[in-house]
Symmetry: D5
């Protein structure tokens, strides 16, 4: 099942740079692992924003929540989730 | 260049059914033509809404506007456009 | 999989009463059929509003969209969908 | 009487982990006690959010307020309450 | 139980004047009957708006919904309902 | 003259408990004094929120502002004020 | 007592021109009468909008509501009212 | 003086095509005349929207309002105006 | 040229009282100087809010921005600016 | 390709003045360099706000994101990006 997920990251600008770098590195590693597994299907950066638009392919909402809520940046993110389905005009 | 486009369709419920069907058929034909051309890269239906989330791959905003503003359903749609760029964690 | 769905109904007040009554009767029949099937798990009326809060139990978003988009009142409704998952404190 | 309650939890990310864990443990214990009592009828996690959707069955608003305002996480929550009533199509 | 209810009336300006007058007369009669019964406790007009703020005293949400959804102007109103409880500083 | 006032209190959760308690005690004392004087006509707690809905009876806006801006909790409150007038259906 | 009032006029573009002109003429006559009486203290047009910002000087909200609700354009207006009081820095 | 103006055009989709075409032609002629006069300094189309972003260079708000309120499409437009001034980093 | 300016002041409640008092004193002195100069034409307090509504009479936006951005409280304020023009019904 | 970008700057008022001055100086230097390069086509200050409206001329969204995300003030800014295209009435 496909989900459209928008993640706005709100790291405090005065956060300890090392801590921020570590969080981002962990986030990147996990994101790339999930992309290789085909779960995190698409990951795009929104121009001008510290936010992304992603498409996830998961068996159900349970797995999606596990993934999102365990992302290192989760406590610093505003996340919007939309369930997707096949469009009648899609080829 | 990639664009994320959300299209909410607001056809008047009391529209002449034949006119509505014709509009939708024209929209579908054009959408499928653009998908085959690789321009309309992704087209998903948002669950529970008469709206879609799409990803367009176009040379620039000019082409995207030509496409969107000439969609048969354009006069009946609320459209939100976001420019996308490569995410640093994308593989 | 569970979905939380809010449906705000916006029937035009000056709609032909018989047409409105027919739509509502069809909606009620379909809603009760889906409740008996265990798909439409919960259906509550929000006090003071012509809207409901519902919980659906469906295999995935595809089925939910089929159900919602084929509801007789669908063209007259604003629908908000949230995917649900098990709460860690739920017994 | 049924109430639909949405609780968005906004714990500061830099909160002392032990304090946060203690708050969550107290919240879980109280939530499970209220579920066993049949007061907290339903408790679901919203996918991708640190928030829940709940259904409470209480004699009146007074009891609901006592419950909500005494939840350990209450000071850190945005709460939206809707009174519910029987839907004419509910079986 | 007390409920705080805000009713914004949106009668179409080009509505048949007689029909509008009849609706308003029926609304007034019902409102006054409910006030005499002590159910509709307070009814104030918001300055500059065709809207009111009201306080209802009802056994539960069920009765409140019956009252509101049967008001002659109900199809033309945006209604916001808040459940109230005793304030700890109230004398 | 009547005013409808909504006060949302946003005390920082990590405020010194004694300071918070002192503020609340002062607020309560002043609120009760104003209620006895008939100025603060009604004071209700909104279920699930640290907020109240109040009705003030004051000679004019000047007095209302003096009262509100001198409430101990004023610096921590979001306040919405609506001027009220007699409703044509009020008995 | 002073009130700050913002009036957004939403006349249907396809309204009968004569009817619209008559409404506007009546509105202008009443507005000028109230300005001469010192009640409608200030009346400014917001650049780029069919809306105005006004300052009214009235004994209380009751008079203001009488004035506003009897304006010929009242049924076509969105009105926002703010009560004003003397600013401590005003000379 | 420079003003930033955003104009969202909301022509009814079922408007008489000839009337719509005439309005647009008049609008285009006036817009081009004002551009040649150096008043309408910049005029861009927002991708995916029937709206524009414009920069006007006018002696004051009075002239800007005359221009905007006399645009043929004015009755069908939502207009947002921002006054601009020289940026300290502008070269 | 006239501008309508709304200023919402958001001083941190836990700011050093002396610093806050000094800021307010400087703000008051500057505001009164500008009022005497006829630039800050009107200054009213919004009832129940730490905010004001003001009318400025300045040659253009440049002067208004100089004034506003140099107000001692500027870093703590949310400011909304509307350009005004003569109303056709103003006497 | 042209982009319309609005940047609202939210520097904490209690930031170390030297650090703030350094950030602003770096931002100004970079902004002027980009203006000289013709990339940052227009840069205006919005009257009354610590925000700007800018027009960028870049090959695509990728370059725009590189520019914006590397601005010294980027972590302190709310940024809104709109893709622009040629207006049919532009001369």
């Amino acid at each position: 099942m496909l989900f459209h997920v928008e993640m706005q990251v709100n790291l405090p600008p005065d956060m300890d740079p090392e801590r921020a770098a570590a969080l981002k590195a962990d986030e990147k590693a996990l994101a790339q692992e999930l992309q290789r597994a085909g779960t995190w299907r698409h990951l795009w950066r929104v121009v001008g924003q510290y936010s992304n638009v992603s498409i996830f392919d998961v068996p159900s909402g349970d797995e999606l929540h596990d993934i999102l809520s365990n992302l290192p940046l989760f406590p610093y993110m505003d996340i919007q989730v939309k369930a997707l389905t096949r469009h009648p005009s899609a080829i």
